[in-house]
């Protein structure tokens, strides 16, 4: 019986991490449903981008208030995780405050965790107020109705509860230390929870121990639950921001990729020695490549990674000129739709023994409407705004390519423009032979 808590702890820990590993596997399988794309270039620059943008939060601080508060929560998350290492080891070994022999270093660590925990509580409260009381515009757009709004608040509540449990645990511990309870040797510095401790005065040692143990267990179980909640929420960015900024676009934002399949066709057309009646090569039985994207499997895996990384902060939508002027397009919705459809496809595959069975749906029309796609000015404001290097514009462009090259479904005005480019080398119906007339006009 002596080892019962240790055994329970190991079981809980294994279940929590095991379930998370299962979700990571599913996540990685879904991302790999995307088309392959070569991102093995410029590793130096990619590491630098990850260090600067994800680790260094360089784009978060473009908006100083949200950026500053986010850095608190982010640093809190990383630093307080050192404490989680101790908690896990204590749980497995049945020790209490295993790192206490570090002495003054330990005092400093615990002290800083406490201060960060308090700051996180303050930051998370302000975040909640921004979402629910001030109702900042980007948090109440149509795509945020329902689950996304609930999800956003739920994450704040979980963080609040975790931090409160952490401080309660420390407060009770501190009080027990003062009372000279066995096992609770004096260790750590409690700059915040020492102010909670007086609340516990008058409590018996056994109820204090019960309180401390309850807070300790709920805290670690809460962390494991939160870890597993990630996959079902918008909150995966705490992990995926790192690979996402690593694989982010390196070329100038204005450079859209050239389709190699088209290049091959065009080269053939322009080649005067090509035989137009040549029989196709023997091994040419492969299905011709589909141009552009109408569903998530037509997108690249980096674009799918983008969709899981999006935490729905809405900075992209806030900067989008189409959205600002009341059009239906919202770059954030493009990312949310991509993720939702990808999840749907993933579940379909799980339900059908690893094979996708046509469900008569696709990303185009099923999730993203043509009206949204055609409202984009390709201005790159959304790409610039994203703090974690997501590129909604690339998805919009791939879907436009599908509309135009597979369905010939461009708006009439654009068809006229393209007809002009094709016939007379200008988007307007002017003769190419008149191109230099300006030089002679007064």
């Amino acid at each position: 019986m002596e080892y019962l808590p240790n055994i329970i702890f190991v079981v809980v820990l294994t279940a929590g991490i095991g379930f998370f590993a299962k979700n990571v596997k599913r996540l990685s399988r879904n991302i790999k449903l995307g088309r392959d794309v070569d991102v093995s270039d410029n590793t130096g620059q990619r590491w630098k981008n990850m260090a600067r943008i994800a680790l260094g939060q360089s784009k978060m601080v473009v908006r100083p208030i949200a950026g500053f508060l986010h850095i608190i929560v982010y640093v809190g998350f990383i630093i307080i995780n050192i404490e989680v290492v101790e908690i896990i080891l204590d749980g497995i070994l049945g020790t209490h405050r295993l790192f206490a022999p570090l002495g003054i270093v330990y005092d400093g660590l615990i002290g800083s965790f406490e201060i960060l925990a308090l700051l996180v509580i303050v930051a998370v409260t302000i975040f909640w107020v921004r979402r629910n009381i001030i109702r900042i515009k980007r948090f109440i757009k149509p795509e945020m109705a329902g689950w996304p709004k609930k999800d956003g608040n739920l994450i704040l509540y979980i963080e609040l509860v975790l931090m409160t449990l952490f401080l309660t645990m420390n407060g009770a511990d501190y009080q027990l230390q003062q009372m000279g309870a066995a096992h609770y040797t004096e260790a750590g510095m409690f700059p915040v929870s020492q102010f909670i401790a007086p609340l516990f005065q008058g409590m018996s040692m056994s109820s204090l121990i019960l309180l401390e143990r309850t807070a300790w267990w709920l805290h670690i179980i809460g962390i494991l639950c939160f870890l597993n909640y990630l996959y079902y929420s918008k909150h995966l960015h705490i992990l995926l921001a790192f690979p996402n900024t690593y694989y982010g676009k390196l070329a100038p934002k204005g450079q859209f990729k050239n389709l190699d399949a088209v290049t091959a066709e065009v080269k053939l057309m322009m080649d005067p020695s090509a035989d137009p009646f040549a029989a196709p090569a023997e091994d040419d039985t492969a299905e011709p490549a589909k141009f552009g994207a109408s569903d998530v499997t037509d997108l690249s895996w980096v674009q799918l990674l983008n969709s899981y990384t999006c935490t729905e902060c809405g900075r992209c939508t806030d900067e989008c000129p189409a959205n600002q002027t009341g059009k239906k397009l919202s770059p954030r919705k493009i990312m949310m739709d991509t993720r939702d459809r990808l999840e749907e496809v993933g579940k379909n595959i799980d339900a059908n023994k690893g094979q996708f069975v046509d469900d008569g749906k696709q990303l185009l029309d099923g999730y993203i409407s043509r009206e949204e796609l055609w409202a984009c000015t390709t201005c790159n404001a959304c790409v610039q705004a994203c703090p974690v290097s997501i590129d909604p514009l690339s998805i919009i462009m791939d879907m436009r390519q599908y509309l135009v090259m597979e369905e010939s479904a461009a708006p009439t005005d654009l068809n006229n423009m393209m007809g002009n480019v094709e016939n007379n080398g200008a988007p307007w119906p002017f003769n190419q032979m008149d191109r230099l007339n300006w030089a002679k006009e007064e």
Binding site: D413, V421, F430, A439
Partner: protein, 263 residues
């Protein structure tokens, strides 16, 4: 116009066995749009004044394919690109200057993958170099103290990180450069990019160019400076919509400079 424009074509120079320092890529707007043609002429005046050896392709120039590509028609884009690249490579062109950020972006970034490798500069960058090299000077002070706000074209700014060359030129005019609330990386689009120029906007509360014009008007400008023929059109329409065309002029940087020089 004081002096007749000297606009040599590549074909003429080639026939005479000469090669210019730079190719001036005029672009469709610069060739055909009445408003944009004035920008083209202003820029040529400056090139003539600085004795820059340049040429245009003239009737051998064709749309870069930018509006087709942004519409999703990769096929048409690449047809245009490959055709243009063939012409330019045949002339052995190394350096290109253009007054259109869309042509600039496309030739600079998307042509290399199709065999067109050139040094491409925007006309504001080129003019800045002419100044720095003392090949052209500014006298007069016609714009001294004038309130000028500069609208960043998306395909020059965010797309290619060119923010300072046009601003430096405005400062050289001794004008008072006032920034709009969204500028540089956060500059709001005029509404024309992504082939929107050639179609009606989707349903919404407002047109994008009106929103941007309102931002510009908040700076109480006498002049809205632009570096793109399409932005120029959108902002001009916005100013007209606000019935302010008597008070606010929309001008390209090249026009500001040519006008300062009384060209």
């Amino acid at each position: 116009m004081a002096n007749e424009l000297k606009v040599p074509t590549m074909a003429e120079l080639f026939a005479a066995g000469q090669k210019p320092e730079v190719l001036f890529w005029v672009g469709c707007a610069g060739s055909f749009d009445d408003r944009a043609k004035k920008i083209t002429k202003a820029f040529v005046q400056l090139l003539n004044k600085a004795n820059v050896s340049f040429a245009v392709l003239g009737t051998e120039e064709s749309c870069t394919g930018d509006p087709a590509k942004r519409s999703g028609n990769e096929f048409l884009f690449q047809m245009q690109a490959v055709t243009n690249i063939e012409v330019m490579n045949a002339y052995g062109i190394n350096k290109i200057v253009t007054a259109c950020p869309h042509c600039f972006n496309t030739i600079k970034n998307e042509y290399p993958g199709l065999g067109g490798h050139y040094e491409v500069v925007h006309h504001t960058q080129f003019l800045k170099t002419l100044f720095d090299d003392n090949r052209i000077t500014l006298e007069g002070g016609k714009f001294k103290g004038k309130r000028i706000t500069y609208h960043d074209p998306c395909y020059l700014g965010r797309a290619n990180n060119v923010y300072e060359a046009p601003r430096d030129l405005i400062r050289k005019l001794d004008a008072e450069l006032i920034e709009m609330k969204s500028c540089k990386e956060k500059g709001l689009c005029c509404g024309a990019g992504g082939a929107q120029m050639f179609k009606e906007p989707e349903k919404g509360d407002k047109d994008i160019n009106i929103e941007r014009t309102e931002q510009a008007m908040e700076t109480k400008p006498e002049i809205i400076a632009a570096g793109c023929p399409f932005c120029n059109t959108m902002m001009t329409d916005g100013v007209k919509n606000k019935e302010k065309e008597g008070d606010i002029a929309v001008m390209d940087i090249a026009e500001l400079m040519a006008s300062a020089e009384d060209l």
